[in-house]
Chain length 455, copies 2
């Protein structure tokens, strides 16, 4: 009897589940596409070659200054304008430029919105921003509507509407809008991308990535990111910083180039880390003790791709732990993972069921772009990957070819932030990911970084 | 304009999501509880002490024989009956028993259902089964309705109805129904459990575990598990084998002892591994080339606990890869992970943001049950953990105390199989997990294995 009753119970569970699943898919099928944006461009956008790329740099804090120091070393470009709300930072960046033998750039330091004056008045080819997150979209959209290409630090945007706005502006004003995801150029990520393209891992079935970095001290510091980043943890839940892990994995999965994100489910842990930190570090009466945080300490997001492959993305920035981007790519023939140690297993190559160290694979399958730029990138930020990303940006503009990452990549990778938040708010219900390409993803397209003739 | 439209789009996404989430929760809120099962027992069930536990062993293949070889070394018990459909296996097990100086057990080898005759006719205290999965519930329910305690290999059951049936029978016939999850007794899992109980990791926020084991050769072999295990990959999707990873993690999270599983979302990759293996190994015309598999190669399940903590469970048995159970426990003060290397990080103890090797922690925090049974368990299966689990089972029955794992643990850990399958079938919709304790989980209860007086 218990058996019959419980069987009915299980059927109820299943059918309910099926109904819910189907409904979840339908309910967000349009996922916020502006109705007036129309069909995607027939051809992949490329701009005419630019012999010398004139750059206006906005936001010369830590990362911005690091990019400026790369750019002065890269042929075919010149930073002719610098914009920052802190004159001191702008002057420091300007000194790096003049020290490199370039004329002093025009300075824009008249407050929050001075970048608009720069975009309107300066004769620039590219506006490149490394401002706090909330300024990325205002800066790049101002650049594009004033006829400049745009490049931005990550994440490019953190609302679905802003992701669509980037796409809309890029298509309307026929300008590049590039999100500078430096981790796509890290050595292991490029090794794995190269091995995937060579078919060594077979068909990719499952992937893992993330941003697992104890940022409590940084979020509470009185300068730099401490001035703005903690606010995002008060305002929003979800994966606030998905692209460092997801960018390289999306390239391995062919996202926007034959494959596409389909839907997302996300789950969060409780939010304790920042509250505990404040309690341990601040005296009674400190206003930071009263802050309320919406951000789950650990957010796990699963993305189903149109080709069936799955991607797990984690965000973990409020708890004590060693650093990781949790890179794992698993296919029908092998698997590679980066943390805590770089390991590879390939059927028929690896012995028994034991991991190989990645060293042996670097010898055979090092990505050619690393080899090509190894000398030039020595000593640059984050093990040289920041220099390579800046070099690839300028190279694409000089040659008038597709950049390694385009506006559709910027939108698809960034939108995982708000969509994961929507899933958590919905009790981990599946939420469809907008298709910013409006179907153009179905056409396979080689990544530029895989084409040695572009180096 | 695109902005306004896309804002509406995003709101639509959210509210739809919220609706879906809420609906998913409601739609399975009863989750198949037999309406006649009534409230949970007021007190935790304990049986009178049994000086010498008379055991009928059912299923003497690889694991069954290994358990019999442990049991003949454990004081306070005797295997007095052996049941297997293959007389040869039963005789082999009987020889281990007589070689150890016990009288020859009564043999039950008259076909699939001869265990029923054994349960009805034999004077036994415990029936212990290591049959193929589909026979676990028939054997243990036959045991309980005939007044015997029951112990089973994992998973105890793989349908929601059978999980409820175990609970119903255990309560109705007042007999223990214990799922023998050996991985709860592995050295690192016990170390972490001990450290969690000592508060060294703080409040547990996020956990990971799984069963990642390339079983392709085993699933296709002509003997042993090859005779039945592959069929489950044809019949079902979901996490078919969740308990090796989930058992130890559930103990760290206090499941059924102050905490409970709330709801589940699961996502699968495509199913290619077994099909590829058949294509590579079998000649044209081999019927195995025509088999269709429902099982996703990689299944990722996320479980939300009532206290807010999250658990990620993976099942990955059809692709080439090194073995892992992916054990990770992360709290507000630290984190520990087992694969590919045993590592621990504790704030204020570990230096910088670097992992410590687990060795140092074993010196201080080795679980006392390992120390207590180290000598006795030497040389036993799976590094001694199988012996410890058998010893703890007999010890609990001898002393008349709670076992380390009870019928509610067996049901909660096993039901993740069918519930994850229901979520995948529903497009990763959230599905509520049945509360087999009917509210009794709210009462905190110490794990017996944490009480040295029980060793």
């Amino acid at each position: 009897m218990g058996k019959d009753l419980s069987r009915r119970g299980f059927v109820r569970t299943c059918t309910a589940g099926l109904g819910v699943g189907a409904m979840a898919m339908r309910s967000v099928s349009s996922a916020g596409a502006p109705e007036n944006i129309g069909p995607a461009p027939k051809e992949v956008f490329v701009a005419p070659p630019i012999e010398n790329v004139r750059i206006g740099y906005v936001g010369t804090g830590g990362m911005g200054t690091s990019h400026v120091r790369n750019l002065v070393k890269i042929p075919g470009c010149q930073v002719t304008a610098v914009c920052d709300i802190r004159e001191k930072n702008a002057e420091k960046a300007a000194k790096h430029i003049t020290d490199a033998g370039f004329p002093k750039p025009k300075m824009y330091t008249k407050g929050d919105w001075d970048f608009k004056r720069m975009c309107a008045e300066e004769d620039l080819d590219l506006v490149y921003t490394a401002t706090p997150w909330e300024w990325h979209v205002p800066v790049i959209c101002s650049a594009m509507e004033n006829g400049k290409h745009a490049a931005t630090e990550v994440p490019a945007a953190y609302t679905v509407e802003d992701c669509w706005k980037m796409v809309e502006y890029s298509e309307k004003f026929k300008k590049h809008c590039i999100m500078m995801e430096n981790c796509c150029y890290d050595r292991f990520e490029l090794l794995v991308l190269n091995m995937v393209k060579l078919g060594l891992l077979g068909n990719i079935m499952h992937n893992e990535c993330g941003y697992l970095h104890d940022l409590r001290a940084i979020k509470f510091e009185g300068t730099g990111e401490g001035l703005w980043r903690r606010q995002h943890a008060m305002d929003r839940d979800g994966d606030l910083y998905p692209t460092h892990g997801l960018g390289p994995i999306a390239q391995c999965c062919g996202i926007n180039r034959g494959n596409q994100f389909d839907y997302i489910v996300a789950m969060g842990s409780p939010s304790r880390g920042l509250r505990n930190w404040a309690a341990e570090h601040f005296k009674e009466g400190d206003p930071r003790l009263n802050e309320k945080y919406k951000l789950s300490d650990v957010v796990t997001t699963m993305i189903k791709c149109k080709n069936g492959a799955a991607i797990m993305v984690q965000h973990d920035t409020n708890l004590p732990r060693p650093y990781s981007r949790d890179i794992l790519v698993q296919g029908t023939k092998g698997i590679a993972q980066k943390y805590p140690e770089e390991l590879v297993y390939i059927e028929g190559v690896s012995t028994g069921h034991d991991w190989d160290k990645a060293e042996e694979y670097y010898k055979k399958y090092e990505h050619p772009v690393r080899a090509a730029l190894e000398e030039a990138s020595k000593g640059a930020g984050h093990g040289g990957m920041d220099f390579i990303e800046d070099w690839r940006l300028i190279n694409a503009l000089n040659k008038g070819i597709e950049p390694d990452m385009d506006v559709y990549d910027a939108a698809a990778w960034s939108v995982v932030g708000p969509i994961s938040g929507a899933s958590i708010a919905a009790g981990s219900a599946p939420v469809e990911v907008p298709d910013f390409t409006r179907g153009a993803w179905k056409k396979p397209r080689e990544l530029q970084v895989m084409r040695p003739e572009t180096y």
